[in-house]
Symmetry: D2
Subunit: 148 residues, 4 copies
């Protein structure tokens, strides 16, 4: 029984982030509201970063402050999730190209794939300009990227 | 000074929905959180429907209850919106094919395009099965679709 | 047909802010999720400020940057709001005491009072320390306060 | 390394629910947006219920469907939480009186108390009418209530 919030785990290069569907996630039609999957995906990406050693706050307040902004995302809603569902978000960081990070995610309930999300994030400075990821981040993420 | 909430207006076949950025929409990086544009887009699509004569509640409680679920959406984040910004969401309903509705949206601050969203909605029954839109809805939406 | 987002209006010292209930506001039980009334209240308070001449962004970036943080709020949920409802948030700024602003709000659907919210806000510096409101703000808010 | 989402644990009669602060929870002022503590509190109350054997979905779909609606809540914001913070929500179910459940909650970061929330929930039928909690729920909650 851990006192720490969920951070998920890796299976190979794929991060797994478990989450529960609460009232706040649903809408009157009885299913999870479509925007909330973007929250689930962001929690998973942040947990991926934390697990390999990086926190938003520290990155944002360091000497070369950076944050990650999503530039593009394409979502495919296959099946709806419902209140009380126990879900897993699978995240893989596929490629890095300059300041850009290419991400594949999917939301699962058991062995049912509910939603897929393919996105492109960019590392940015506080002024919003694209910024190369620092070397230690590149090295930490390296083992999780797709083989070239 | 109207007592009614904003419903927007049409310019040709394009619906325009104005909205303000509030605290709730932003995140600690200072800009609008990426999931919240999906809320803006949904407010705009709902207002489009309302302006041509359809309300979610009435559709959902009628004899042939239907709701609209987004099946696919692709977002392109070009520039960030910030607290207090006055934005316009432009929405066009491009095509209907069986139960499917193809939608193009964009979020503007003055003459700057901030975000685009291309989506596919499906009319569904309460059980989640695809359902053709009722005839009166087809007729009401007809004039706003792309010419064939 | 205004191109500007809703800002509401005053009737005497009471600000009125109209809003629509969208999908995002509801939960699977069919009514507005309880946390979302805090969003409605904040939109109304921000619009009150804007209507008397103050914007968050300008206050936060000025020479003596301030923002408002809610320190206490007590909510009473009397009746639920539902999808498509047209609501009005009534806001009065009752008293100012040093950095503290005492606020009374209520959410109405027609002549039904749905929710009341009594709160205490504090003007704070970016470091989070209480800060007296600037003189021009005191003067602008003066006419809307309860008579002493 | 559990595959299940966080459900928290009891220390005596007090439920402890750990959570992480993500982007979605913060606003442009750099801290957690005030409405989001209500989400945290609801996640904790739902997890309390789940841990003693009750799920929203099952309660809502059973023979005598009930859900819980918050009727009153009073929040005291003492200190702000920030991005990446690891928080614990402590929840105690103090008393049951007919359909009403009296709840005390607080949000902690280590040994700092950030927010307190005192609320009154009511068990309701799908039509929104107050309904006594079923006997098995009374028995399950009994050991966690304040001694009479």
């Amino acid at each position: 029984m851990s006192e720490n919030p969920t951070i998920g785990w890796f299976e190979g290069r794929v991060h797994h982030y478990p989450l529960r569907v609460y009232y706040e996630d649903t809408d009157f039609s009885g299913v999870v509201y479509y925007a909330n999957y973007l929250k689930f995906c962001e929690r998973a990406r942040s947990s991926f970063f934390r697990l390999v050693g990086f926190e938003h706050a520290a990155l944002w307040e360091g000497d070369n402050p950076i944050a990650f902004a999503i530039r593009k995302i394409a979502l495919d809603y296959k099946k709806p999730a419902r209140i009380d569902d126990s879900l897993i978000v699978r995240t893989s960081y596929d490629r890095i190209k300059g300041p850009r990070l290419f991400v594949s995610q999917s939301v699962w309930r058991g062995d049912e794939e509910l939603v897929t999300a393919v996105s492109e994030a960019t590392a940015i400075s506080p002024e919003g300009r694209p910024r190369r990821m620092p070397k230690n981040m590149m090295e930490a993420l390296g083992p999780y990227l797709l083989p070239v």
